[in-house]
Structures are given as C-alpha cells and as structure tokens.
C-alpha cells in the first residue's frame, strides 16, 4: 500500500513548564536553550499507525514535513523507525503558517506525490493544539477522513478504524484513498533500531520549494493565513499553594485532611 504520513517539528512538549517562554514583542515562543525540537507526539503515533499497516500488508511510507530550519536528525526519525522516503517542504516562505496555509501546501505536495491509499496525521500538533490540518488536507483533496483513530486496519480494500469517543469507541469503515488522524491510544511508537538509524542516515530527504509544488505564493506561510494572532501570552499562575507539613508523611497526610475540613473542602 502507498502510505503518506504528515509530521511536524515542534519544540519539545516534555520540556519543563518552567522553561517555557514567550517573546511578547514578536508573539513567538522562545525555544528553551539546549532542548532540541522533536517530532510532534501524535505525529510519531501516526508514523506507528502507518508502520503497522506496512507490517501487515507491505507497501511504502512517504513522510512529508513542512517548515523551515528543520533539524535533519529530528525529521529523519520516521525513516529510522521504518518509513521509506522523506519529503521536506522547507523554505522561509512556509514560515508562520496557520492551519489553512499549512493544509494547502501539504495538499499540493500530496497531489505532486500522486497516488496513495492512506494519509496519516496526528490528531493535533503539540504546539498549536489545533487539530485542523489533517481534516483540511482531506477536504482540499476531496477524500474521506476519520479522526481520533486508536486502531487502523486495512480489510478487503477498505480501511477499518476504531475511533475514540468519550464512552468507548466507534467502528468506522472508509474506502480508500482516505485520511486518518490518530490519537495516543493507538499505542507507543516503536523505538528506532540502530539498523534503522544507520539506514536513515543514508537517505537524503527530498526538498520541495514552493515553486516545486505549484502553490499560489499568496496562499502559503504568513500570507496564506486566515487567522490573525493578536496576542500570545503566558497565563498568570496564582501559585498560592498552602503546604501542609508534618513530622512524617503519615502525619502530614492526617494534617492535610484536618486542614481540608477546616477550609470546608471536605
């Protein structure tokens, strides 16, 4: 099967919250020093979903990533995990995209790739947490979509998806080609084996500039935005935790219960 996975490079969401800084003059996040970026968590799960299909049915996985200053060791991780090809939409013109301009550029790149059976995306990116790009790509390509997948199988030429809902899951069947967004419940992405890392080191990513994918320059990056970011800021934490102390853990625990009763919380 021909599989495509869209991945995004983001600042490491596991970095300690205290290291998170916003430059309010530019409305941008200041990457914490010394913490390398990562592939967005759910996008790695999307790679895992594609690998599971490839394990079962065989095929080829093409990874597409859009951005600028993409760190090769970071964006090559899906290759090390077992993907076959990496296409980077890398150019300053792609910077400051929003969901619209990102989905547009990715959909144009996918049109250039040509035939495919399934496109996988993460349910949302760890930076803007929007969860729009996957569905935007599907709409722009005119293909069906299923979101929040915890299991994806290819059965009798159809894709069978278990979609997470608050009290369980739904089973959805879609014809191909289609787009699936995946959620962490799909399971931990596999580790990249040493052999995979060595293989990935030898693969040269293909870089496509805006002119290579035939995009309208007014529709990509900052110029293609449909949302205006007025302000980016860190919410003020009240940070008034009353620490209850005791001679030992058990004593502190008892005093905590008494304090909660006193404060009418219990």
């Amino acid at each position: 099967m021909e599989l495509i996975v869209c991945v995004k490079q983001v600042p490491d969401p596991e970095a300690p919250p205290a290291s998170f800084k916003v430059d309010t003059a530019t409305n941008k996040v200041v990457p914490p020093p010394g913490v390398p970026p990562v592939i967005s968590t759910f996008d790695e799960t999307a790679v895992e979903a594609a690998l599971k299909i490839k394990d079962a049915k065989g095929g080829k996985i093409t990874v597409v990533s859009l951005g600028n200053n993409l760190v090769r060791d970071v964006v090559k991780k899906p290759l090390a995990m077992g993907a076959d090809q990496l296409i980077l939409l890398e150019d300053p013109a792609y910077e400051n995209s929003d969901s619209w301009s990102t989905a547009y550029a990715l959909s144009m790149a996918i049109k250039k790739i040509g035939s495919f059976d399934i496109i996988f995306c993460g349910r949302q990116a760890a930076d803007w947490d929007s969860g729009q790009v996957g569905l935007g790509i599907a709409e722009l390509l005119g293909i069906p979509s299923v979101t929040l997948a915890k299991k994806v199988e290819s059965v009798d030429g159809k894709v069978r998806v278990e979609r997470i809902v608050p009290d369980g899951f739904e089973v959805i069947e879609s014809p191909t080609p289609c787009l699936i967004t995946v959620t962490n419940e799909l399971g931990e992405p596999r580790y990249a084996p040493l052999k995979g890392i060595m293989k990935a080191a030898k693969i040269q990513p293909v870089v496509w500039k805006p002119q290579d994918i035939g995009v309208d320059p007014s529709q990509i990056g900052a110029s293609g935005r449909r949302t205006k970011l007025v302000k980016l800021f860190q919410p003020v934490k009240e940070g008034k935790c009353e620490m209850v102390e005791g001679e030992n853990a058990a004593d502190a625990a008892v005093k905590l219960a008494l304090r909660l009763r006193e404060a009418k919380v219990l």
Binding site: P11, F20, V29, S99, Q124, A126, D127, D129, S130, Q132, L135, G136, E139, P144, S145, V146, T147, L148, V161, R163, I164, V165, P166, D167, G168, E170, V171, I172, E173, S174, P175, N184, E188, R226, T227, L229, V230, K231, L232, F233, Q234, P235, K237, G239, K240, C241, E242, M243, V244, N248, A249, A250, A252, A253, L256, A257, R261, A263, V265, L266
Partner: protein
C-alpha cells in the same frame, strides 16, 4: 455576498438530552448575540432531536433549526458536513460555535475548509470587539503553557468551545422562541466513511465529568495496583477516579478516565492529584476545579504551582492515613 448576522450554535444531544456543552454555548452565545444586538440560534442535527427544541429555547436560543432526519442518526462526517453546509448557507450566521467534543473536533475543521473560512479550536473565552464586531477568540496553546488570542476576517467566524469554559443560563421555561424545520439535504450515496457500530466501554460508578470529587493518579502510582488504592478515597468522597496520559499509555487504566487536553475536561469541587507532576496538558483538563489538592514526593513538581493545598510525601505512606482520616472526619 450574503448579510451574515447572529450567532449559530451547533447543538448536540446525549442520551436524548441536550448536552451540557450545548447549554454552556447557549449561555456564552447569548452574551455574544446581545453584544452584537443580533439573534442566537441553535441547530439540532440528528434523528428525533426536535423534542429538544423547547429545552434549547429555555437555555437561551431565539430560534431552533431542527434538522431531524434518519440519515443523521449516527454521527458521520460527510453527512454532517453536508447538512451543516446547507444550514449555514440558509442561516448565514456571523458566528458558528461548536463544542470541542468528538463531533466538534471532526466536524468543525472539515466544515470550515468547506466554507473556506477560518476556525479557532478549543476556545476558552470569546468576546466581541465593539468597533469591528469581530469575534475575539482566546484559546490555550502549547499544551496549556500559553494562550493565544485570534481574530479572523472571513465569515462566518467559527470557533469550537471547551467544555465548562462557559456558563449555561438559568433555565427559563417561559422564554419564547421559534422552531424551524429544516431539511438535511444529505445525499446518502455521498457518505463515504461509514459508521458501523459503537462499542461502549463504560466505567462503573460515578461519571467522571459529573463527579463532585475526582481522585487522579499519575505515573508515580507505578501501576494498576496503585490506582486500586485510590478507590476507597473515591468511594468516601462519592467521587470518580481520573488518570494522566502516561498512566493511560502504560495501559494501567482504561482510556475513558484520562483527564487532560486530549482526554476529559472536569471541574469538580475537589480534585485530589496523587503522584502526578501536573503537566500543562494534564492541567488543561482539570484547572477549572474549585480546589486542587496535591500529594507528591517532589517538592518541585509543577502540581504545587497549580494546587491550593499540598503535602510533599510519598503517596504510599500518605494515602492510607489520609483516607482513614477523611473517613473519620466524614463520619463526624
């Protein structure tokens, strides 16, 4: 170009009742509509949903578009996008609101791209700019580490709304409103991804989103046995058990009890966080709780920046005496 006016809430029903998020959006939407001096409408999509129209009016709607059609019985993306596209072109609202629910997460982006308009997901605050009449959209980003304020020019302006971010109006059964029967206009042959069945994975006991107290555990509990030990405290407080994503990812507890950005949003009277660090993405699901209490052995854990009361202690030593004391106090 059509004259876009008013606020349209995309309603949802849960087990034959108007969903809490819909009542909340009607409360929030009422304020927006009043600021604009325009109307508040709600669209109810589904099979047998017309009966909810009176409730929606009592919750603040001026007008109810009832799209009652068997083809909308189960949520299917293509069908709902088609139906909503028809409703939006008929109503021409200035603002469309949807819940940040499994339906809203799926429907809103696809509909926005179909309508060639912009959308802000998971908003916690919405307001109207008095000059431009634009919708000011505030949403948490970077896993809750930051907030972003957006405006958009294309119409309709679309936003999804986080659960418990807005307050419902007090129900007023004397309110009058208009119910408009609306055809779905769905061509069933164009539904591609099809609903096959739903598998329920209900957790026994009090429903997490409705529990007055939530006892939540994290990675520090070390395994399913750790979560077992929370049960007694949950029972005493008539509460429910919640979990962080690492605990879910490790398979210790069912996914349905995940609290956080990608799990459930809860706002109980009392949230007891045990052996969890308080990552931004977890706090996104519980920061609306009235009182947060933390038990963690790491004095530097982020949870102590979020909690109202806390102790630095190993949960294994603290939980049994805490539970016992709570039991004594509740008996008094």
């Amino acid at each position: 170009m059509a004259d876009y006016k008013g606020v349209l809430v995309c309603g949802e029903a849960i087990e034959g009742k108007l969903a809490g998020i819909t009542a909340e959006m009607l409360g929030g939407g009422r304020k927006l509509a009043d600021k604009l001096g325009e109307g508040l409408a709600v669209v109810l999509l589904g099979s047998g949903v017309k009966g909810l129209a009176a409730e929606a009016i009592a919750c603040g709607a001026d007008k109810v578009y009832a799209v009652d059609d068997a083809v909308l019985k189960d949520y299917q993306t293509d069908a709902y996008v088609m139906a909503m596209e028809n409703v939006v072109s008929q109503v021409a609202p200035r603002i469309v609101l949807m819940g940040q629910t499994s339906m809203g997460r799926d429907l809103a982006p696809r509909l926005a791209f179909r309508l060639k308009t912009a959308l802000s997901m998971d908003c916690i605050e919405l307001d109207i700019d008095p000059q431009s009449k634009q919708l000011i959209q505030t949403r948490p980003v970077y896993g809750g580490n930051a907030r972003a304020i957006f405006t958009t020019e294309s119409l309709p302006q679309m936003a999804t709304v986080r659960a418990k971010a807005m307050s419902p109006l007090p129900r007023d059964d004397s309110r009058k409103g208009e119910v408009v029967d609306t055809t779905a206009g769905v061509d069933a042959s164009k539904i591609r991804a099809k609903f096959v069945q739903k598998v329920k994975e209900e957790v026994a006991g009090v429903k997490l989103e409705e529990a007055p107290a939530v006892i939540a555990g994290g990675r520090g509990l070390g395994g399913p046995d750790g979560f077992k030990q929370l049960e007694e405290l949950a029972r005493l407080l008539k509460g429910a058990i919640g979990a962080t994503r690492p605990a879910i990812d490790n398979g210790w507890v069912p996914t349905s009890i995940q609290v956080g950005l990608t799990g459930k949003i809860v706002a109980p009277e009392l949230y007891i966080a045990i052996a969890l660090s308080g990552s931004s993405q977890h706090m996104a699901g519980c920061s609306g709780s009235k009182t947060i209490v933390a038990i963690n052995k790491d004095p530097e854990a982020n949870i102590f920046r979020e909690a109202r009361f806390g102790i630095v202690a190993d949960w294994k030593q603290a939980l049994p005496p805490f539970t016992k004391k709570v039991q004594e106090l509740l008996k008094e």
